[in-house]
Symmetry: C2
Subunit: 414 residues, 2 copies
Amino acid sequence: MTNLEKQAALAKKAAAQLYMTSGDDRNRALMAMADALENNCPKILEANAVDMKNAEEKGTRQAMLDRLKLTEQRISDMAAAIRDIVKLEDPIGHTERAVKRPNGLVIAEKRVPLGVVGVIYEARPNVTADAAALAIKTANAAILRGGSEAINSNKKIVEVLNDAVIGAGMPEGAVSLVCDTDRKTAQEMMRLNGYIDVLIPRGGAGLIKTVIENATVPVIETGVGNCHTFIDKSADIDMAVKIAVNAKCSRPSVCNAMETLLVHKDIMAEFLTRLSEAMREYNVKFRACEQSISFLEGASPAAEEDYETEFLDYILAAKAVNGIGEAIEHIRKYSTGHSEAIVTNDYANSQKFTDEIDAAAVYVNASTRFTDGGCFGLGAEIGISTQKLHVRGPMGLKALTTIKYVISGNGQIR
Amino acid sequence: MTNLEKQAALAKKAAAQLYMTSGDDRNRALMAMADALENNCPKILEANAVDMKNAEEKGTRQAMLDRLKLTEQRISDMAAAIRDIVKLEDPIGHTERAVKRPNGLVIAEKRVPLGVVGVIYEARPNVTADAAALAIKTANAAILRGGSEAINSNKKIVEVLNDAVIGAGMPEGAVSLVCDTDRKTAQEMMRLNGYIDVLIPRGGAGLIKTVIENATVPVIETGVGNCHTFIDKSADIDMAVKIAVNAKCSRPSVCNAMETLLVHKDIMAEFLTRLSEAMREYNVKFRACEQSISFLEGASPAAEEDYETEFLDYILAAKAVNGIGEAIEHIRKYSTGHSEAIVTNDYANSQKFTDEIDAAAVYVNASTRFTDGGCFGLGAEIGISTQKLHVRGPMGLKALTTIKYVISGNGQIR
């Protein structure tokens, strides 16, 4: 057995024990985890300082350093996020449905934990606390594999959380970190069938692609969002400008931000001129098609790859279309199935768009930025699923659960 | 583009059009499919005769030949199965839940097709009609890849079904067969991300393992059932014998049949003696542990691998245990997560067993043979999922669907 297999076997054993704990027990463990993070703040910051120093020496770029950096405030936020998870309703153990069959068998669908949840993620050490807490809440064991750049921070956070979890009576192995951050160990983790029940990659498109191509354990694909907004001919121009600015500029680095704007050519002149003005303060760089380029300040010509790119930046691809048909066709070609929006005042077009676009979230007259567990009312969010199996769109606690059929009989045979 | 990619691209296009059809339209197409099978019975039997001849010449064993063989009756049964699917409630298009958020956004969860469903299967040509019908019912396109031994039968069946489907106004490409039955094409199919939304392997453990190890598209693992029945000390012996005989002997070749019997040592003598008598007429071969071997007629000693094997035959592994703890431990070690049963009259033990055993279906005082879409009241069954993601246990129509969030606003921004 490799070290990772031993760790996974311990996690599997812990998962079986976790399932026997009560929701109250697990909430107490979560409170202890939150307290422990705050009480051990100096130690965590010390470990994080080592990661920061290493990263700086390697010439890591500023955006990455920002994501890696912990502060007293950020550790407090991590603790607060855990306390928010405590407040959520516990999905485990509920009977979702029970039927009595004609032969007298009672068949109940009980909501149960998945078992062992693996998470492979990058940079942000807050994911460590977040994923551990979501797992404990839902009675799953978590095996966490963060990036090498955050290894010291992650080790300290897991040590602190683990002490709290075990102190609160949860089993050893309920939360563990994969300490080898080499590629080989990550690959091994992706193939731990029989131990890991689901693997969730959280990070950039490259990480997610690697996991999908290499994993033999079930995976939930998350997060890549090449999101579009189509401004139809009948759109309220004021509303359309407001929605487009929000979708692109309110937080361009996230997966639900707009990357390509499609606009009906009949209103292109007025709409794009006003949009260009409204986006000036954000210094948005436009990559526009031939028809639309003259209306967008400082725009450069769009190449094919601009329509394929999740910029995650103040960059917007733009394209004029002849109507909703062409808009739908474009979206079908380039969509990653995350969030797509239409701004329209035409009833038939609103129906056509929501029917024909195949994405986790399809919007009429609203910003794509709402695709989020909080905005959808799910409480915590583990990520945004862009696959169709198991869970689609923002993933709440239920995404970490499954069903077990419990059948009660009195001697039935078939 | 390879031939398979072209086929998949056509299926993807068909899937988009299928989603726009009504449930009535699709039911009409299903009725046409059923009629077409019956009307073209001689042609299908002719094609099947070629497969049978080839298989016989290769020296294929009798059980396999039986599965491959079509008759007028079997084709009628295929048609009848399709007509049964027509009667099932259409899950597509329903709003499962809709909430109005405080900001006025209405967020609706709509049930939609998965898109393109791939099925890789062996031998039985009836799976071809079955899978095609389940896909059409749920507005999915189907790409079917049967085994080389049934290629002529499958080609003819798909040709007949396809004519009916297109004649009923469904798009070209809605149902198609992968005509290359080589390994390379199967491997290519397992990696058609962007085209295939889910891949379902139906067949033996070897096929399923190959798909899990090689697929990069989402997979639903089906069917391998190393099922246990534990006869507790407090069991009603009459009931226990009846359940054990049914679980082993009513249809040993299926995945929900019992493979290992565990028995509390305190009742072993009486129970096993009576079981041995009751199983005599089925000529069951026993593989027993040292403690139990003397009570089972003609038993040979059980090796470790007997406890790991899905015999799918009149063979039963048996083991005496000290109590429920040891029974649960054994099941945890060898279970494939399909169906597990306890026969007991002890309340605490019934609870402990259903809580601690992690399987799709956990039974108290009933035969494992009930794990089946029909017995569970789901109508049609696509297979039995032994994974925890998306669907667990018998898969009904809903297993071929997913959710789309449709969000209606009036200018909301975040």
